[in-house]
Amino acid sequence: MKRYDLIVAGAGPAGLSAAAEAAKCGMRVAVFDENAKPGGQLFKQIHKFFGSKAHKAKIRGFNIGSELLAEAERLGVEVFLNAPVLGLYDGREILVRIGDETRHYKGDSIIVATGASENMLAFPGWTLPGVMGAGAAQTMMNINRVRPGSRVLMLGSGNVGLVVGFQLLQAGCEVVAVADAAPRVGGYGVHAAKLARCGVPFYLSHTIVRAEGSDCVTGVTIGEVDSGWSVIPGTEKHFDADTICIAVGLSSATGLLKTAGCEMEDKGPFGRLPVCDEYGQTSITGIYACGDVSGIEEASSAMIEGRISGAAAANYLGFLPDAALKARAGELEQALEALREGMFAPKNRGKIPDKTDEGFDVSMSLLTRGYLDDAEVAGYPGVRSAAGTHPVIECTQNIPCNPCQDACPKGCITVGENIVALPQIDAGAECIGCGLCVASCSGQAIFLVNEDIGGGLASVTIPYEFLPAPKPGDTGVCLGRDGKPVCPGEVLEFKSPPAFDKTGLLTVAVPQAFCGRARFWKREA
């Protein structure tokens, strides 16, 4: 039977990171994944990531995936694709399907990084073609280049629902609504605001009553729920739609850990998860779990957890001295802790603060309608009026993110040591209008405004990731934060140099009075 120092099940961000870290210590490593392409969820993520430099922030997910894969291959990791791991047994032996055969391999250590699967919701009509997981829709669009439908209702306002909702718009679908049974938007406000300013309405405290259609989805009815999650009669709303995306959470794919006999514990809403030590080692010595399989988080944390488990496996087999493991794990844990802070941190789940860490009011409009109210915007530290071109930063929640600060060559933007702090504008620094902050903002929350360009006009620069690219002279209508038309807008410039990594900067001229409200631009139909 073929033997490896380390066998990793799952080639997502966690598995590849674990493999690379272990291979770096000199281990012989094999990774098995059921898909034809490695990368797990990461290769579907076409948006720029949050976090700081240490977390590869502002890099698009699939590019992070390519880097990771190249690193693993350079270090001699063997990656087996189309290779589902069917079982994990005593003595750390795995059974893998390869082609028309099942093969056995032995690992002196095993890392399970099998990720998660999407939760489904049952409602009348949920088995009709056209009802799908949001992740499935994302796979169709971003991996297989197939548009899932033309009119989509998104159920779930967590980051997955918001991110996929925006990508559906980018793919040319109409998103008729984002609905969520919870009374508050579950994901980052900056993600919600991107959808809202494109005109997507949010229905909080709403759930799906039924999907309509006989052979496939032709419509959907949602209704408002009471505190007991029952639909209140008379609140039903109908939408014509051919697709319903479900984004109501993920469940850890713990099957292999269970076949191995790893001890599991009930973690309430997170489900039954493996009991792990600080390095991800399960109740069975030499078997580790990392990434979403050990608790749903995100790709950024999955990569760090993977590295910690990879280093621990190396230490277990004598490839990495105790002191070196301690040092490495210490530095990785610090990066992990930085991500686990802020308003959306796992430890703050279910709690909604009314003030930010800095004492600013948390916008209720953002949490219930998906956008900041025009009247409250000026109260945040990223928004100030100034002469000439200057940034307006509409990032108002404590989230772990700081690329805007690193981007500015003039020191106009400060987040500070603690990356969950709100970005603020330094009044003393002079903005040169380079646009780097706009392009590097993962939340597309930064705009450049020049309140007076002459002739009674102002200019507003908007991050723009849609095709076709606008051209100078194109006319259209500017939409407000709520997605409603506010004024006409003529394109002055559209820039998309390589350094902006495909975020276009669209500058439009608007009547001066509207420069504080125009936040999106739509071509004249």
């Binding site: 039977m1 073929k2 059921e34 589902p84 791991v85 069917l86 079982g87 047994y89 059974l95 399907r97 028309d100 055969e101 099942t102 093969r103 056995h104 699967s117 939760n119 489904m120 919701l121 049952a122 409602f123 009348p124 949920w126 088995t127 469940s251 713990t254 099957g255 292999l256 850990l257 269970k258 076949t259 009930d266 309430g268 489900g271 039954r272």
Partner: protein, 104 residues
């Protein structure tokens, strides 16, 4: 293991005919009925109805079935075990399982 107890009568619900396990086409009503017939956990319901035993192996319906059983028993979902993890993790034809290679 959930304590055996007598349940009150099965009250029909408007969505009882909704399919919950798509692979085996088992409805919500059938699952509720099975609980009243004494299937007090996922394992028993699976063996009795085959819900979660089809192609996707419960990946889609596992949580849904669990929620229905818990509600019917009036207990919290965390009191119910998940289905036992068993190989093969993915649907695999018998001829492939039979072509087992131990060497290189």
């Amino acid at each position: 293991m959930t304590e055996r107890k007598l349940l009150s009568d099965l009250v029909p619900q408007p969505d009882d005919d909704m399919v919950v396990c798509r692979c085996e086409e088992i409805t919500k009503g059938e699952i509720r009925r099975a609980v009243h017939d004494g299937m007090f956990n996922i394992h028993e319901a699976r063996r009795f109805l085959r819900c979660g035993m089809g192609l996707c192996q419960g990946q889609t319906c596992g949580r849904l079935v669990k929620a229905i059983i818990a509600r019917e028993l009036g207990i919290s979902q965390s009191e119910l075990d998940d289905a036992t993890g068993r190989a093969p993790m993915r649907p695999t034809e018998m001829r492939i399982i039979a072509s087992e290679v131990f060497g290189e």
